[in-house]
């Protein structure tokens, strides 16, 4: 059993080792603004010739062969059906006569999520907000990794294209910083029998090849969800991808939309602040 303190310390060490500049104050406090600056600078230095907006295209920005294949796929986007289904869901009233519009106003609101919800005292993701909307209107919640949730998310993502990611950690609520720190710690903690942190694959090794797979930079990974993956043969959520990345290091995945993954999404999405949303996307 590793003590919390030792764990926190190994997290800083790993981060320091990977990013060189540990964005942590002398008191060991994480400053989310310095953190963001340090992380984005790290990737800009790593890929000095990459135009900023290209980060939103993941490994396709870095691998010309993959990119050619991807551009072909995008000519007949495999996620179009999901968008159409989602639009129908949006326009179909719930049994009580209300609809998603009564909760969200308009569909293009993805750039307001994930966000810190002061009243709930937790990170509110778009997927969670969708189910809260349904339950408040007497509808069954949707499953979180595939199926109807992906349709409504795909439609909302499509309507949000071009909006700029701007995840905020409000300074006047220490619980928000706590959630951010937990998400960050998750990202830099080694886990599973294979002993990798998310950062091993998506920070220092970004752009390199793991066998034949090009590893995408962490910066930009949050822009395109939900994603159609050829490997899934379907479109799936970000938390489904988290599950996959946990499993491939032989770690036990966490619950989709549970606290761990929502905090992870909070930190993970914030790294992409300033990039335009471009979901739904297609990936290998």
């Amino acid at each position: 059993m590793i003590s919390r303190k030792a764990l926190a310390c190994s997290v800083c060490l790993l981060f320091a080792g990977l990013v060189v500049n540990a964005n942590v104050g002398a008191d060991g406090e994480v400053d989310p603004d310095k953190d963001l600056e340090g992380i984005q600078q790290f990737f800009k230095n790593k890929f000095p010739d990459l135009p900023w907006e290209e980060f939103a295209n993941g490994s396709y920005a870095l691998d010309p062969a993959w990119r050619a294949n991807w551009e072909l796929i995008e000519e007949f986007p495999p996620y179009e059906v999901a968008i159409a289904n989602g639009e129908e869901m949006w326009n179909t009233p719930f049994a009580n006569g209300k609809s998603y519009a009564d909760c969200f106003g308009e569909p293009g609101v993805q750039h307001h999520y994930p966000r810190w919800d002061r009243d709930q005292g937790q990170v509110l993701t778009l997927a969670l907000a969708i189910n809260q909307c349904r339950e408040a209107n007497g509808e069954e919640p949707l499953k979180y990794k595939k199926g109807a949730i992906v349709d409504i998310l795909a439609y909302m993502a499509y309507e949000s294209r071009g909006q700029i990611i701007n995840v905020v950690v409000p300074e006047d609520d220490p619980r928000a910083l706590e959630a951010y720190k937990k998400g960050r710690e998750f990202y830099f903690t080694r886990r599973g029998q294979l002993n990798f942190a998310c950062a091993h694959c998506h920070f220092s090794m970004a752009g390199r090849k793991l066998r034949t797979e090009s590893l995408s930079p962490a910066l930009g990974q949050a822009t395109g969800w939900p994603v159609y993956r050829s490997k899934w043969g379907a479109i799936g959520t970000l938390h489904r991808r988290y599950t996959g990345c946990n499993k491939q290091v032989r770690a036990k995945p966490f619950k989709a939309q549970g606290e761990e993954y929502r905090n992870l999404e909070y930190f993970h999405t914030r790294m992409s602040n300033g990039l335009p949303l471009n979901g739904p996307a297609a990936r290998k």
Binding site: G17, Q193, N195, H200, R208, R211
Partner: protein, 113 residues
């Protein structure tokens, strides 16, 4: 002359099983190293004889020269992060991803590179 021949034959016969055992170990080591479900070393290292390798780390070549002490080489496979705390290499022995015997075989294979 006859005596020499006899001696030569005896020596060969005497060594043959030993050499064979080594070859077999090396060959098994290679299989374990290349097996995606075992060592999967090619996902990160270029290794002579292997195909479609990744480029996460250094090519595994000239191993005898770089690791004159075989035990140090074994320790690298057993738990790489003890040498480089941030390295992205699974601790094959420490986390029991491979058995001690499998690691021995891999080390024999590495020593032929």
């Amino acid at each position: 002359m006859k005596g020499f021949r006899l001696l030569f034959v005896t020596v060969c016969v005497g060594f043959a099983p030993l050499a064979q055992a080594d070859d077999q170990m090396v060959e098994e080591g290679r299989k374990i190293a290349f097996d995606v479900k075992k060592g999967n070393c090619l996902s990160c290292h270029n290794i002579p004889g292997g195909q479609a390798s990744g480029n996460i780390s250094v090519p595994l070549v000239a191993m005898q020269m770089r690791f004159p002490d075989k035990e140090v080489l074994r320790q690298n496979v057993w738990n790489q992060p003890q040498f480089r705390p941030h390295a992205m290499m699974p601790p094959f022995g420490k986390h029991q991803i491979l058995t001690e015997e499998e690691i021995d075989k891999i080390v024999e294979f590495l020593y032929t590179l």
